[in-house]
Structure formats: structure tokens, C-alpha cells
Symmetry: C2
Subunit: 393 residues, 2 copies
């Protein structure tokens, strides 16, 4: 028996490579996970070094794992509305919306960004679950007149305070006019892309959706070259920055067993709209009865949790289990351990002292407001502009 | 730019740990992948050393990633039949069946093993796709009277020629009477399990489905202790052995774009049965028109492909593209590179000379019969008993 503290990832044809995979290896990605049956790089230098490059400059991420489900056809608009409790009646072509997809119990199937390409054509830019199968099953049995497939689309993210300059150098000055959660279909030296002002960093940022998988390496290098004067570096979704911004991660912070009200996302559920969507009856019951647990932030004592948590950690309040901590990591700029937790209403109140049961034993923690870090309120970042978590748009 | 040849796997709460995860780390798993949103160990000593331990002895595998979808209720039997083209009318409680799940085009959604627990209660022991969402979507929109959920069930596999002795030491002599693709509900010192004579090794073997996730470590160590006199070692699904036996891997050798007839699995499609199942009309059209490509084996020249392929490799016949090689690896006992490929009918004929376009350049290959290794026909293994690929039962 010899415990291996740093196991390797095995590569096989069972898990797909994104069009940027070769580039991520060439640029020295040191660790990977998988997401939607595809490899996702996690960091290049170190998670902390990559974080500083993100928050002080600009980084380029291979998030080809954000697979798209394209839904088109005569029933597409009604079907998309059936999939999500969020009211989409005012959504315009060219606009993105953060949406929750719920099942018949109100549990969360996925939390994608919706892109409305046309009145009868949509992309769902997915978190990690097979929404393709969910949507196909619903459409088949429900006899909806829609086409559903996974198109050849693979996103990159260009994130960080210097991202507007890099994007303007690549695409032109219209980048500065692109509104938060809007997109434009365009091209870069003949490479077809969609450019949106979205991202998963809580920093200013953009996504570039590649629409021709054969040109991934070329697109990656063009962005790196244009970003060089601004010090661009390869990067990846930063657990530190997303927890600072209280952005949620599907699989960690929510799954089929969690409903929107527990996450404080009731504004994404249009109960009073007259719209028909999956889970409406269950969500109405939950809203009426009230939830028994609630998402909250924790400031956790003890040594820096550089590696974060590798599974959910039980929390205790007044000596009894009160829920679970779903995500945690040490913030180098805030200099404390941040935790996201789903706790009983009583335990989730601001200021409560709780205990988090990590593998090394119990850690004292305090319930604190979210987000942990807000550039507008922080003395540390005079120059950073107001950013919002994806959940806000 | 510094390419990293052996990247690490990152662990986070987004991907789940099986109940045996701690044991796999303690026993020294050196590499992991993920499967059904869960970590799966890949090898302990080395892929080749683990292979020899499997084929000459017995190994214990954490395949908790084979998540179960449980379907129960008044419509369960009819709904299960609706999900698969295989005729289940003769299937008895206590029996397992290898089934394909197809979509409305005949494309393969998953290739699970079905366990019939009762006339109105079934498990689908899954390959890597979210059949939970597929089945829930179909049942919801189709108004089927079924309950669908993922139960607390996590399989281990005990595989190899010495597996009957280990299993009999644990469970008693009835193990020797357990027929291929049958199972029994039982317990081990109070730990609730299902024991089946199934597995993904092409060797004699069993699965032990743990029904209480809190007791994973305990179950793992009990099997290791009982297996010690027989030289049991920790192991994992062996790419070498499964390709020798021509067992298929969902994601590598098939996906939504592949139909059963292309895989030579027409016997799992009950077109003439009068049964109603998803994809029947499309499959009837495909059967009538005939397929344009076919699954076949390749013997590939060149240096040993110890690492296998990391993505599909294009194949050429007479100078033109003729399909793709989906899986490949070097067999230490056969001393050649085995490949599985989906090729045009013309190129797939036995004896054809084709070219495989690997990353290092083209490799000459010849189409050969499957499986590559059959103990009954091999001079190398007088003692090994007849084994069958999972697809046979």
C-alpha cells in the first residue's frame, strides 16, 4: 500500500479533447479535470499564480467543455420556456440569460447561459450534465416540433481587467460597446465565432465561441498573440475568484437535490407569469411552504485551505448537524478561508458561529455576507470596474 | 511554454468520490479518470502489470462510477422495454441483460447492464452518460407511471480466473452455481449487497453492488482480506484485456452517432417482436437499407502502442478515408497492436490492408477477426475457462 498524493489523469478516446486541447498541452497545463465528457485544464503555473494573473491582468481559458445544446424549429421558443422557470418573454435575439433548468420536483438539472440566436434558435451553454439527453427525451415524448443537437461550438473565455483591450485589438472598438450579457456573431480572419460579454470569473470578461472545431489551435494562438502586449497568460476557471464572487458551480453547490429558492435565486422563477414550465407546481409549493435551508457564506478559521475541499463537509450548529459546506478555498487577497454552504435557516443567519467538519477535524467558522469580494466596496481595487456574478444577468 | 507530459488530475467537490475512493487512494491508485461525474481509478502498479494480475489471478476494481438508475412502479416493465430495442419479455427476476438504449434515430444513448430486481423494479447499471435525465425526461413528458432515481448503489468488480475462489470464500459455495448474467441479493457481515456474475474484463468475474455507501471502505477491505490467500491485487478496467475480448466502451467505440447494426449487434434489436421501443422505425429503416460501415478488428504494425490512442484516428483504404479507429492498445501476450475500428464495408473485410493515421504518421494495419483473444482457441491458456464478452449475455 503506497498512497499516491498526486495522481495523474489518464487520457483516452472515451473523453473528448476540445479543439484547444493541443494548445493547452503546449502552453503547459499541469492538471485537468473532465466536464461534459471532455478534458478541462485546471491551471498552468499554480492556482494562486493563475489567480493573480486573472485579477490583475488577463487570462485565456479553454472552456470548450461548455458544450452547447442547440434548439431550433417552430416550437423552439415555447420549448425553451418550458425548460426553464425564468421568464424569457422579453429576451431579444443577441441577448444572453443565466437560467436554471429544473426537473418536475424543482431540482436543478443544469444552470446554463442561454443565447438567443434568433426567434426560433437558441443555444444552452451548459454546466456539467447531459442536457442534450434531458431535452431530447422531453421533446420526443412530448412531441415538440424542435431540432435538438450539439453543434460544433467550443467556447474560450478571455477574462480579467485587461480583457477589453485584448478583445478590442482582435475585434475592433465595438467591443467597448458590447453590453453585459449580449453577444454578436462575427469572425476573426475568417474563423467563425460568437463573441459575448459573459464569463465565469466575476471579473470583466468575454467569451469567444468557436464555430469551426478544426480551427481551435489557430484561434488560441491569435488571441495569445493579440494579448501578448497586455501580458495575457493561459488560465482556467479560478476557484478562488469564483468563490470570492459567490458564483455557483453545478455539481459542487447545486444538483438535482437543490432548488432555486434554497440558493436565493427565486427571482429566476416566474411563478406569477402565466407561463408553463417544468416544475412549476413543485416550485409554487416550495415557495409557499418556504425553504428549510439556505445558501450562505462562511469565514473559516485554521490554516489556509489551499486545496479547497474535495467533497462536501458536514456543518454543525449548537452541536447538531445543520447542513453542508459545498465549496471552499483560501483567498490570497482577503487572507481567509471562504466557504459556501447550504445550512438550516437558523444556522445560516449572518454572524452565526458554526463548525465545519473537515478531514483534519472540526474548524470554527462564522456566517458572513456574500459575495466575499466586491470591487466596488473594496479599498484594494480602486481601478476595477463593477462586475457582477453571472447569476445577475 | 513548457509542455507537461504527465498532467495531474484535480480533485474537487464537483466530481463525486465513490464509497471506495479513500481505499483506492490508500492502495495507491496512480491515475484516475472520471465517469458519470465520479472519479474512477485507472491503475495501481502499471497498466501492463495490472493486466497480468487480472489475467493470471484476481483483481478488485472500484467501478462505483457504474451508477444505477432505478426504475420502479406500475409502468416500470413497459417503460424499460420502451427504453431498449432488446426483447425483454422472457427476462426473469434475478437475471441481468446487456442492453442498448437508443434514441429516436437509432443512435446509442448508453449500453448498460439491466438487472431485473422484481417484475416492477429494475436497475440500469450505466456506461458514461446521464441516463437518469434521459429516462426522467421521457417519463415526465410521456406521463409514465414510474419512479426514477439514482439509488445508493456502488459496484465493485472482482475479476480474473481466481475470482470464484475469492467470492466463494466471502459468500459461500452458492457462488459456484451462480449462472452467467444472473444475480442474488444478499449481505456480507450485515453489509447489504447484490452479487452478480458479470463484469467488464472478458475474464471470469463478479460484481458486488454495495447498497450502503457508508460501508464502502469496510467492504473493500473484507474482499481484500478474503482475497489475500489468492493473491488479490487492486485493479481497474483493463483496456488491454477488454480490447483483446472486443468489448465495447461507450464514448470510445460508440455514441449517439453510432447504431447497433454498425456494431454488429443487430441481435439486440427486436424488430419483429411486435414490441414498442424508442427508435424502432429508424432502426427498421437502417436494417432494411443496410449499414455503410461496420465494426472490425485491426492488427497494427509499428512500435508497441503502450499508451493506446487518445482520440479517434482516421483510417485510409486505397488512399481514401474509410472510417476511424476508435480504440487501440498493445497486447503483451499477443505481442501486437490491437485496434477496434468503424470502417466502410469495403475496407472492413477480413484481410484488407488499411492505414491508420496516428499522431506520429501513418501505420500499416490489417483487418483481422474479433475477438483478438479467445481462451478456447488459444494455445497460450490451456487452463482458462471459456469467457464471453458482456455483449453475449
Amino acid at each position: 500500500m503506497a498512497a499516491t498524493s498526486s495522481p495523474l489523469i489518464g487520457f483516452s478516446p472515451r473523453v473528448r479533447q476540445s479543439p484547444f486541447f493541443t494548445a493547452t498541452q503546449r502552453w503547459g497545463a499541469k492538471a485537468y479535470s473532465t466536464y461534459n465528457h471532455m478534458y478541462m485544464p485546471l491551471y498552468y503555473d499554480s492556482p494562486v499564480a493563475d489567480y493573480w494573473k486573472l485579477v490583475e491582468g488577463v487570462t485565456l481559458w479553454d472552456v470548450g467543455v461548455e458544450r452547447q445544446v442547440e434548439i431550433s424549429g417552430p416550437d423552439a421558443a415555447r420549448f425553451i420556456q418550458y425548460l426553464t422557470p425564468r421568464d424569457l418573454s422579453e429576451t431579444q435575439a443577441g441577448q444572453c440569460k443565466y437560467v436554471l433548468l429544473c426537473d418536475e420536483t424543482g431540482g436543478i438539472v443544469n444552470d446554463p447561459v442561454l443565447l438567443k440566436l434568433a426567434e426560433d434558435r437558441f443555444w444552452l451553454s451548459l454546466a456539467d450534465s447531459d442536457v442534450l439527453l434531458w431535452a431530447k427525451g422531453l421533446a420526443l415524448a412530448g412531441k415538440w416540433d424542435v431540432e435538438i443537437h450539439e453543434p460544433d461550438v467550443s467556447p474560450l473565455q478571455v477574462q480579467g481587467p485587461k480583457s477589453p483591450e485584448v478583445m478590442a485589438a482582435l475585434f475592433g472598438d465595438w467591443i467597448h460597446e458590447l453590453k453585459y450579457f449580449w453577444f454578436r456573431e462575427t469572425e476573426l480572419d475568417g474563423i467563425p465565432v460568437v463573441v459575448s460579454r459573459t464569463g465565469w470569473s466575476s471579473e470583466r470578461g468575454y467569451e469567444v465561441f468557436l464555430r469551426d472545431g478544426s480551427r481551435g489551435d489557430e484561434l488560441w494562438e491569435k488571441i495569445m498573440a493579440a494579448g501578448a502586449p497586455f501580458g495575457i497568460a493561459p488560465g482556467a476557471p479560478s476557484t478562488i475568484r469564483r468563490i470570492e464572487g459567490a458564483m455557483l458551480s453545478y455539481g459542487s453547490d447545486m444538483d438535482l437535490g437543490v432548488n432555486p429558492y434554497e440558493l436565493g435565486l427565486g427571482r429566476l422563477v416566474a411563478l406569477d407569469s402565466g407561463l408553463d414550465f417544468i416544475g412549476k407546481a413543485a416550485l409554487a409549493r416550495i415557495e409557499k411552504a418556504g425553504v428549510s435551508r439556505r445558501f450562505c457564506g462562511l469565514a473559516i478559521e485554521g490554516a489556509p485551505l489551499h486545496g479547497g475541499n474535495q467533497e462536501h463537509w458536514i456543518c454543525r450548529y449548537n452541536g447538531a448537524d445543520c447542513g453542508k459546506m459545498t465549496s471552499a478555498i483560501y483567498s490570497p487577497r482577503l487572507d481567509f478561508n471562504m466557504g459556501l454552504a447550504l445550512l438550516s435557516l437558523e444556522a445560516a443567519e449572518e454572524g452565526r458561529a458554526v463548525e465545519v467538519l473537515g478531514p483534519q477535524g472540526p474548524l470554527p467558522a462564522k456566517v458572513v455576507p456574500l459575495p466575499f469580494y466586491d470591487p466596488m466596496k473594496s479599498l484594494a481595487t480602486g481601478a476595477a470596474e463593477r462586475t457582477q456574478p453571472a447569476a445577475s444577468a
